[in-house]
Subunit: 292 residues, 4 copies
């Protein structure tokens, strides 16, 4: 199976690393991206370039997408030269993009209407785990479809969770990022308040980062916070977008999210003040800033 012809659409910071993992594990790739330069390293290793999503579809026995937001997925799938019009019947489309669950279900329905199969399979983890094939992958859809592509998913991720039916992979990813975004902002507030009250910053981090009250994830942000270098692992603008998508899903399900809502507005304010492209942990820098 690892020598299947695999189509891959979307070669951003994450997608390029994920496609490379597939390639290394033996898949023959056909790839498309809005700009071709991102594909060059893969092409040098043997991947075939396609000029359109449709052209990827014509060669693919299975197709992966890793795009920035629902509109980008929809354009690639159903726009002019959309791949959904060209995939052979029974082909499996695996969407790894971070979208919202109702959108995943909409895409599943579009696929089914064309006798295609669909999995939502968004991933957790940033660039380094992607490069090492150590992502966590949340899968929604039929168990049989998951089994059909498990070896490929295992090339990209070290943890594969079958969460439930269509949209449930996306749903758990959404909850994941909601917790990430809110926890980081709350943690930053705690740091800023503690420092303002006079606690020595190093001692404060030493204590909090092993405290059961703090998510273990935060320890990975210590360097950024102490150095003030917020080179992006997860850019703030994407985190803010994920909070917005959670808000869309909350609206669809009549759920109130007062903290996540406050976090969304806070990240937007920070983004407008110049932190949009930085790692989302730069919310600490924004909260801690003081102009004369």
């Amino acid at each position: 199976m690892t020598s299947m012809r695999v189509g891959f659409v979307g070669l951003g910071a994450m997608g390029a690393r994920m496609a490379a993992r597939l390639q290394k594990s033996g898949s023959r790739l056909t790839v498309f991206n809005r700009t071709r330069d991102k594909a060059e390293p893969l092409i040098r290793e043997g991947a075939t370039w396609a000029d359109t999503p449709a052209a990827v579809a014509e060669q693919a026995e299975i197709l992966f997408t890793m795009l920035a937001h629902p509109a980008a997925v929809k354009e690639a799938a159903l726009g002019q030269d959309g791949f959904l019009y060209w995939l052979r019947p029974q082909t499996l489309w695996v969407d790894c993009s971070t979208v919202n669950p109702s959108f995943s279900r909409e895409m599943a329905a579009e696929a089914h209407a064309r006798k295609l199969r669909f999995l939502d399979a968004p991933v957790a983890g940033s660039r380094e785990p992607a490069a090492r094939g150590e992502l966590t992958i949340f899968v929604g859809g039929d168990a049989a479809d998951l089994e059909a592509c498990r070896p490929l998913l295992q090339a990209m991720g070290s943890k594969i969770l079958h969460v439930g039916g269509h949209g449930m992979g996306t749903a758990l990813k959404m909850v994941n990022n909601l917790l990430l975004a809110s926890s980081m902002a709350a943690f930053a507030e705690g740091l800023v308040l503690g420092e303002a009250l006079g606690i020595e910053p190093k001692r404060l981090l030493d204590f909090l980062l092993v405290s059961p009250l703090v998510a273990p994830y935060m320890a990975g942000k210590r360097n950024k916070i102490e150095s003030g270098n917020y080179a992006p692992e997860f850019p703030m603008k994407w985190m803010q977008k994920d909070l917005h998508l959670a808000g869309v899903s909350a609206q669809e399900t009549a759920v109130a999210l007062p903290l996540a809502g406050a976090a969304k507005e806070l990240y937007e304010l920070a983004a407008r003040q110049g932190h949009a492209q930085e790692d989302f942990s730069a919310i600490y820098a924004f909260l801690n800033a003081r102009q004369p």
Copy 2:
């Protein structure tokens, strides 16, 4: 030292358990509480009852307070029959109450003005750790004063942290509870959204409670969330009060806390709707409720 005459003012759910630990470790207690019935178990084991805080002070070589809020501490210390007027010079007052740092510093100044010594030593942990002597104790003040009472603190806590000067123990406790309150509310939002999106609740908890994105503390709330029985370990009204105190400190230090602020209002709404006396994890029940 463990046979020192120890004064203890404030025998609520926490104070009574802490005083019992001191008694078991050999201290001779003199105790005061607004209502005497809470003191009876200690008296049966040999503690002396005092009718006023002042009467405690007259017998104490060291004095502990564990009261509900700053106003209660001030009344006991400086009100009519306040103990500060009656402690012998050089006596050490250890305030274990959860207050705000500027209040701790104010009490330190009041103590110093009377040639007394002061430590702020608020505790983290709920009723069960208190009963087992396994609290975490955050200490602010002089190292010499901490050493002078360390054996007593060790009778109550398994982890003693010297955070810094006066008010710094209180400051770290404040940060601690801020993180606790915000994280719990954020976690509850994640659960409610995940369930509303269709993720099976048990699977959702199974995943989140071992996720690095979630504070390990949350696992201790699983039973409450699954059973719907919110018998209080940490009553919501106290958590809401601690968020308010954090807001007071934030104001004094010109810090913005958008998430903690949103959490404070959310807990207040929940408290008004009937959850005030429940465990603060009942915020999940409030967010998840839906009237026809």
Copy 3:
């Protein structure tokens, strides 16, 4: 002109009253609604019933829509039997629904692609002004198109504002409702706090409702607040939806709305606690409630 053949799609509480105004002013109506019973009063006065939006289009020289949300507009326009496929070239479609500006622009583009003309023309005002033809109508699109339908708009509204190009009518309506929703919640907070502090409620309203700090609109809610009867003029669930649409537009334009965001979550909590179908001023009742 007033004897033009006018198509009208969407006969809810507002649409039925607006269509009746057109009918009274001489227009010959062809109407469609998901349920026919809402159309009966118009049919009795001479309106023609159509079984589908497409059937309305076939008879219409101009077409109005007044639907609940963007998805409903899209379904009527572009779904199976959508009217956009059947309108004659150069026909003017006037969408009075409260939607978001990017959606209005999308509909304008869909219309233009079919050689049709489009105006977004959402209305401000509740049921009574609708029945009297005293709505405010915010128009986005070409001035010539506005002039072409001005007499019809004047049958429904006493104030017609040409705000700008496509989507600008919708944009101003959105700002309008944003202010309405936030102001009402802020006003309710002021009332609840004032009463809790001991100000006599009647005196408080007497003062605030003529104060320059309070929007004159609020005076119209006095009866509801004093009587506790929140029969809907503007149901809370629609107001909450409008805040969500404002959030969508804010996301598209990278604007932060901390207060409107907080208001959105507050209305959702209130809706879940049973106020969804009441007038949105019932946010006062929700904030003021206290369970034992």
Copy 4:
């Protein structure tokens, strides 16, 4: 009566103008301020300088205070050289400072314990109305005490409201500023969103500032918003402080204020980013700013 010996403590931007009004109407002033330079214009017109609040008290038949916050009032009244220890029995103390109601009641009790009389009489209006004697004055306390000083209040204010007993003047002032702060932030959000959506700014203001959905007060901020010159009429840092005091009162009365809470944090963020000394309407500039 207008030739009474009037003590006045606190000569900031507001207090100096209010004292000048009393002086012009015939009162013989004895004044105290932390820095003497603010008192010079009054001294040149005949006022007597006092070196301490106590020294003011010794000469005063009635005493006014206009100070920045509760702690400043307490220091002047009850600190070293506090005036409360020196006022003659039955003297009336009128506190015009913007504080919180429980503090006003505490001051009333302190006054009564010394056989003194007390009114809380905070004022609404900025520097220009203060200079013209056109403030609104909210009075809490006994009607007889109000009558005793009405001519003096009328020298400073054009509208005198007797709201209720002790603390009720302060309570209504608090509600007033709560509405002012929330409404301004909500209005700014509406402007920023409307502009971002493409509505021409002048047209947007033209429409909103006569809309019944907008508090008439906002019209007075148009010049600042259009010019970008936020010379303070009401500095943002004071408005932020008033929101904090409202939060303290909300906590004391178990009221939830989600919007006012969000506004408090927003103003704090804006203050930290450099807007603290500007007029509070600069919240528009903060929300509208965008860094590259």
